[in-house]
């Protein structure tokens, strides 16, 4: 009989992977990996805020991610600081402020490793409710903005000339990304969230012909990574979050090989 904690871990992990992968496709297509990394690193600030102010940590991370998103959007209007520099500042100052804040919390014993690298084997039913509730919201939003966001990704100026409300669609996308980071933290931790977004998407690029196909295949690759990683973690007693990422990387390598073989035959 499979233990309850493993069932919960599988349900939570697969849920996160299936939500993250289609979003991750846009992260890959729009070359926003560094923005995702910034959200993830600064998420620790959200954890610290949640602990200090005493509200739910997922909510804390969601709030800090939304704040970071809005700062990035606001700063896009100025040109004196490059966007990569700004993202670097936000990522590491968020992480640092979070760590410093946590060090002040003498009364609370904080398992820092659980936030940095995730602890999927410890997910509760409450966490699963967050993942599936938030995940449904994310996927519903993505379905609504799919066409305009894809048009903007293919050619921004063309889409704007045809009347796509660029700023609104972009902000909606960045906010769904912020929510995804918040719900994924428990599974792989803030340092590895980005891997669940981009590695499955990158793994299936070589075997995809349309955007929709790539999104569906990426979701499958993400789910498979979670399942393989969790069983490997159990079998060899390795940390669960990193094991999932390693499994995804193995899939990515396989995807590269299959893509190369296809290309050679074509």
């Amino acid at each position: 009989m499979i233990d309850d904690f493993l069932v919960r871990a599988l349900v939570a992990g697969v849920g996160v992977a299936v939500v993250a992968a289609p979003l991750g496709c846009f992260v890959v297509w729009r070359r926003m990996a560094y923005f995702g990394a910034t959200l993830a690193h600064s998420a620790l600030l959200g954890v610290a805020l949640g602990l200090v102010l005493g509200f739910d940590l997922t909510l804390g991370v969601a709030v800090s991610s939304v704040a970071v998103t809005l700062i990035v959007v606001l700063f896009q209007r100025q040109r004196l600081i490059g966007s990569d520099t700004l993202l670097g500042i936000l990522a590491h100052s968020g992480l640092a402020i979070g760590l410093v804040t946590l060090s002040f919390l003498h009364g609370v014993r904080v398992d820092l490793m659980a936030y940095l690298f995730g602890d999927v084997l410890a997910v509760t039913m409450g966490d699963i409710a967050w993942i599936y509730g938030g995940g449904a919201l994310v996927l519903a939003t993505l379905a609504v903005i799919w066409r305009p966001l894809l048009a903007l990704t293919i050619h921004e100026e063309l889409a704007r000339a045809e009347g796509v409300p660029a700023l609104r669609v972009q902000i909606a996308f960045m906010l769904t990304l912020a929510v995804t980071v918040a719900i994924a933290m428990k599974v792989v931790g803030v340092l590895l969230i980005i891997s669940l977004l981009i590695i499955p998407a990158a793994a299936v690029r070589g075997v995809s012909r349309t955007p929709e196909q790539m999104a569906i295949l990426a979701a499958a690759a993400g789910g498979l990574s979670v399942i393989a990683g969790l069983f490997a973690s159990l079998r060899w007693d390795t940390p669960s979050g990193p094991s999932i990422v390693v499994a995804a990387t193995v899939l990515f390598t396989l995807g590269l090989a299959v893509g190369a073989v296809r290309q050679a035959r074509a």
Partner: protein, 260 residues
């Protein structure tokens, strides 16, 4: 404006448009219109502000002064300069066209036939040649049933045969669908033969009118050099008087009147 019965119904109009970016004056006091069923071509040297003017007219750039009027509900088909789509995004011609708008998926094959690109439907977009890509993007623009087609340097990277075919196609579409066309080019002579009105731009409007008249104007010669003007005049002459071996002069307005 609408007093002259020969003036086509205006689709877009720029009135005294100024554009400054930082301290640089890009456009100064530009007036222009494009009417239904009319092909208007913007010519001018590099850096003359042609693309900027197009982007102001499309509403992508806000003018610093003056006004841009667009017919309410105007549907625009736009072919931007860029000829590539990032290979990180997998997409076939058929899927791109299906995304053009509601109901586009059903008309994909018909529109590909219209632009002579039927056999490209299942090809990945990134594998197309420059000319094929332009045809597909033109097809995509047509799927939106545009009133106005805007083409920014549509001939980049296309060989001469492809250029003539593309102009031929645009001319036919203008007649069959009655759409207005605004084109940008610095490729002078082919453009001139396939257009109703030429606007010569160098920050401001240097001269404008029928291609023949513009090519003879001193402002045009000053802008492009007498050699270019002469070459152009020769070309226009050959085009308009191909059957006139006895020296009878056919007026340009009659000879070029393709949209009566």
């Amino acid at each position: 404006m609408a007093t002259d019965p020969d003036t086509p119904e205006p689709l877009v109009r720029a009135d005294g448009v100024d554009l400054r970016i930082g301290r640089t004056q890009i456009l100064s006091h530009v007036d222009m219109t494009v009417g239904r069923g009319e092909i208007v071509t913007l010519v001018g040297p590099n850096g003359a502000g042609k693309s900027s003017l197009v982007r102001v007219i499309l509403g992508l750039l806000k003018p610093s002064g003056g006004e841009v009027w667009r017919q309410p509900g105007l549907r625009v088909g736009y072919l931007p300069q860029t000829l590539s789509i990032d290979p990180v995004l997998p997409i076939t011609v058929r899927r791109l066209l299906a995304l053009a708008g509601p109901g586009a998926a059903d008309k994909t094959q018909a529109v590909l036939a219209e632009v002579g690109a039927e056999e490209l439907a299942d090809r990945p977009l990134q594998e197309l040649s420059g000319g094929e890509f332009q045809r597909v993007m033109l097809g995509r623009a047509l799927l939106r049933n545009p009133d106005l087609l805007v083409l920014d340097e549509p001939l980049r990277g296309i060989d001469l045969g492809g250029q003539l075919a593309l102009y031929d196609l645009i001319g036919r579409l203008r007649r069959s669908r009655g759409i207005g066309v605004l084109m940008v080019s610095h490729d002078l002579h082919i453009v001139m033969a396939a257009t109703d009105r030429v606007i010569c731009l160098n920050q401001h409007v240097c001269c404008s009118g029928a291609p023949e008249a513009v090519s003879r104007s001193p402002e045009y010669a000053a802008l492009f050099g007498p050699a270019a003007a002469r070459r152009l005049a020769v070309y226009a002459h050959q085009h308009d008087h191909a059957h006139d071996l006895h020296g009878h002069v056919v007026e340009n307005s009659k000879a070029a009147g393709g949209r009566a």
